[in-house]
Symmetry: none
Subunit: 130 residues, 4 copies
DNA sequence: GTGGTCTAGACCACC
DNA sequence: GTGGTCTAGACCACG
């Protein structure tokens, strides 16, 4: 019951947000099976070498999103998210990021052509890596 | 000497960051001429209906970035940023946003084709608007 | 966790600049270990008997210089500055001061010999003291 | 009656200080003869394209230092500074700058040898130039 | 008039 | 507890 999560202390993004993002991705992408029991708050905090409070917040937030389910005295499980919702969820996250990029391009007054060139360059250099 | 800036109190982004982003964009896009005198912090704060301190921070941050130049007793001016640096700066901001979108897509396990479809859809719907 | 800093209210140099200079020197000289947690802004302000805001500015400036790293909810730490950069940083500060002295000498029309004599005299009288 | 003074708008040093420093150097180095009439405040401000207030401050400060003398209705003259005082004054300015450099070196924990090497390097590179 | 420094205190987000 | 943001106002230096 080990969840491979990497947090980067140097990033400005708060700890809880980094952990949430990675857990969310693992759940929505199907890497974590429905019904699977997650580590206890205490154990997870131990694994990530962070505060219990941080993990508690992660579990709470994801439960509110409907991705996790908690049963008193038993633990926290991966909730049963239907395939359709999963797809929608995944696309929405990406679309939001794309919207931000488009906004930036318009703010910086790039032409559509310039922006598309930037997009292709980034895809060529960054899509495959890692 | 009126700078058209819109702040949204409801957004999570801090006031000073919203103002900085818009001013930065105006400077880098060439909408504000090099050497031009900006409103005094008092007047600007008045226009935006916010605290003097918030504007002071905006001017200070942008001066540290090299986009503004300020002289005590005289005021704050648009600094002489070379055209080359300006271009680089603009592209960098957009590339960063694109990188974030690509990261999100990979995290959500989209295929390249799926991602490109999302991109085209967003472009069709959102590029022209506003 | 006590940082020995002396401020002189009578000097023209602003409080925050005096504190910054001394902290910067302690960090660059290796007197403060990498990763070490600094006093909280509240506690430090208390120690130095000055405003929280003044300390906040000090921490903020040094973070922007890359000498400190701060995480909300956790505190402010000595950043991991590589030894090479550290050396360069230290030498630069001294070289700047030397350049100023050379400029003064040239402005005052001292000959090279006169300037070197002044240098040796100052070294003899002032290097060891304190 | 033209005094060749160059001010650099980009430097942080205030206008009046830049002008004072250059005038002081010209007087103490003997480039301006004792008894010589300086430009009127208005004319000088015109030449330097700066405010009358700035020049008034320069004249006031240098008069207080004993380097200038003002006669109502006549103008401002170079005061009669004795040769001995002149020498002392010149050396003092340079010594102050040297002291600052020595302080910086000690604060940065350079050894005497390291500091002397920096000094020689700076002399080699910067003494002759311009 | 301009910006720079220092002060105070409230409220929020994070751990 | 920690730092981050925003607010207010006093006083000084510069032009």
């Amino acid at each position: 019951m080990f969840i491979p999560i990497q947090v980067d202390e140097n990033r400005a993004e708060p700890l809880y947000a980094q952990i949430e993002a990675q857990l969310r991705a693992m759940i929505l992408s199907g890497h974590l099976e429905v019904g699977m029991l997650l580590p206890s708050i205490r154990e997870f905090a131990n694994q990530l070498n962070c505060s219990i409070i941080t993990i508690r917040r992660v579990y709470q937030d994801l439960e509110q999103e409907g991705l996790l389910r908690t049963r008193q005295g038993t633990g926290t499980f991966i909730a049963d998210v239907r395939q359709g919702e999963r797809e929608q969820y995944r696309k929405q996250a990406v679309d939001d990021a794309l919207q931000t990029a488009i906004d930036a391009a318009k703010q910086m007054q790039l032409s559509e052509q310039q922006f598309r060139e930037s997009f292709e360059q980034m895809m060529k250099r960054r899509w495959k890596e890692e």
